[in-house]
């Protein structure tokens, strides 16, 4: 069974690309805001991995990340940040073991590589 990946990004171009790029290997679900992300999670659909954009209009990736970690049933889901601003990630993402980040615009093979690395580690 294909592993579940949730992509959270307000940019439809990005979610579309990830969905299509990873579609053959993973079961990808795309949502476009933090709110939608929690709606998805609250339906007891726990993905194997979340790809999380940082700059989103309603709720920032940091906020989403924080709330996921605070919930006991979600706190072990590995998260990969998708970001245009690597400098911010470098400052904030450090210290979380299962986490990684990838800089936009990324190539699909590279993204796959990162996802596999983290899923294999768990």
């Amino acid at each position: 069974m294909a592993k579940k990946v949730l992509i959270v990004d307000d940019d439809i171009g990005v979610t579309y690309t990830v969905k299509n790029g990873l579609g053959n290997d993973y079961d990808v679900t795309a949502v476009n805001s933090g709110k939608q992300c929690f709606e998805f999670l609250e339906n007891d659909q726990i993905p194997n991995l979340i790809l999380l954009d940082i700059m989103m209009p309603d709720m920032s990736g940091w906020e989403v990340h924080k709330r996921i970690r605070e919930n006991p049933s979600w706190k072990n889901i590995p998260i990969i940040f998708l970001t245009a601003r690597t400098d911010q990630v470098a400052k904030n993402a450090g210290g979380f073991l299962a986490e990684d980040y990838i800089e936009k615009p990324f190539k699909i093979p590279e993204l796959k590589n990162r996802i596999e690395k983290i899923l294999n580690r768990i």
Partner: protein
Amino acid sequence: MNVNFSLSLKLTFIVVLLSTAIVVSLSYINLQQQYQKEDDILTTISRASVKNFAEAHSIINSLEDKFVSYAFFNNSSIVYDNITVLIEKINEKESLETIRLNTINIYRPENKSKPETLSIYVSNDKSLIGNPSDIYNDRAFDTGDSFYILQEDKPILTIISPINISNEIVGTQEVTISMFPTTVSHEEQIKYIIIIDFICILLLIFSLLYLLRKFIVKPIILFREFTQKIGQGELNTKVELNSRDELGDLADSFNQMAKDLKESTEKISEYNRILEKVLEQKDEFIGQLGHDLKNPLTPLVGLLPIIKQKEKDPEIREHLNIIHHNVEYMRNLIFKTLKLAKLRSSNVEFDIETLNLKDEVANVVSSQMMLFRENNITMINRVKFDIFVEADQLRLSEVFKNLITNAVKYTPKTGGQIIIDAEKGDNFVTISIKDTGIGMNKEQLNRVFDEFYKADKFSSEHQSSGLGLAICKRIVEKHGGHIWVESPGEGMGSTFYFTIKLSREK
């Protein structure tokens, strides 16, 4: 202080020379005049004596401070009356009864003020004169010539001249002028003159020096201090000089200049502030734009390879290839622009460690082996193993990578050689990367480190963002080194140099 001292010294020298010259020449002129006066008197006396007795007498009477005597005699009794008449004429108011021409008669004038200084000897007997002059008396009487006799050992001038009355020489007159007192007075005078001269010279020197110091040297010192302060950036300085001359005007101009300078400096710093703000805004803008471009690029970068893979039509595949190429170029450009903007920001942090230079070069070289092979490049790493530098490893590698790929890019496909070498200096090591490529002309040499500058021939080449060398420059400068390039000319290869801090440890 040196300048000041030497100026004073020069002025002192000039002043001493000038005052000495003035005083000495004045004294000389004075002395000359005095001598001339005395000469004149002598001449007048002798001439007067020749002409007539009366004039001579009056002149001799007019002389002061001189011991003067004169005598005359004749050897013809015929002249007696004439002589008497003559003497009567001379001393109209004085009695001549005491004069007896056959014997010695001493005539003392009744001049009470200087009775001792003037004596007149009148005699008709030449033997009684008792001077060496008697021979000359004879001669003067015989020939009618005048004689001037200066005795060798005594400063006495004797003038002997014939007495000529009615075209007949009736006797001779002898005037003796003792020059002794005058000579003495000359010597003393000269002594006095020297002392006075000396005092005058000193006074002149001191007053001139005082004036020069007050009016020239002091203002100069003021101006010097002023310019020094201005040079140190103290623009509130003023020259306090209250003289209403050219120097005062100069001081006013200086003060005005300082004021203007202050105003324009303030303006410049204000402009600088604005400029810095604008630059910051520019960096901010570039950063924002770069980041905003990344999202729309993601589908292009992510999906194009997938579409390319799935497309069967070779023509569309070719088009997609070109689009893909352009997208990759754009991605590269955005990454590099952002990197450059980040390097420019003041809070960029470097992870400085001690690195072995030869190892670092070898790492970069081995990662580029494919590139060398494809372009027929021979790579020579001449860096000695004992050189250690202080640098951020990733960024130093980036500099090497940029410079090496640059060298390969500008070497014709037929092949070439790249030599990397390093030379130790006192605190820095100078690294050189020499290629056998197309070289550079002057304009290119001046501009290669500019952002977005590309050497003309390759500007259409997509692989070149025109930012690689700008990034190198910024990295090297952030490390405290500098970077430059040399090329003998187009087609003759280029050598890039940069300096990096030597490690103190080992």
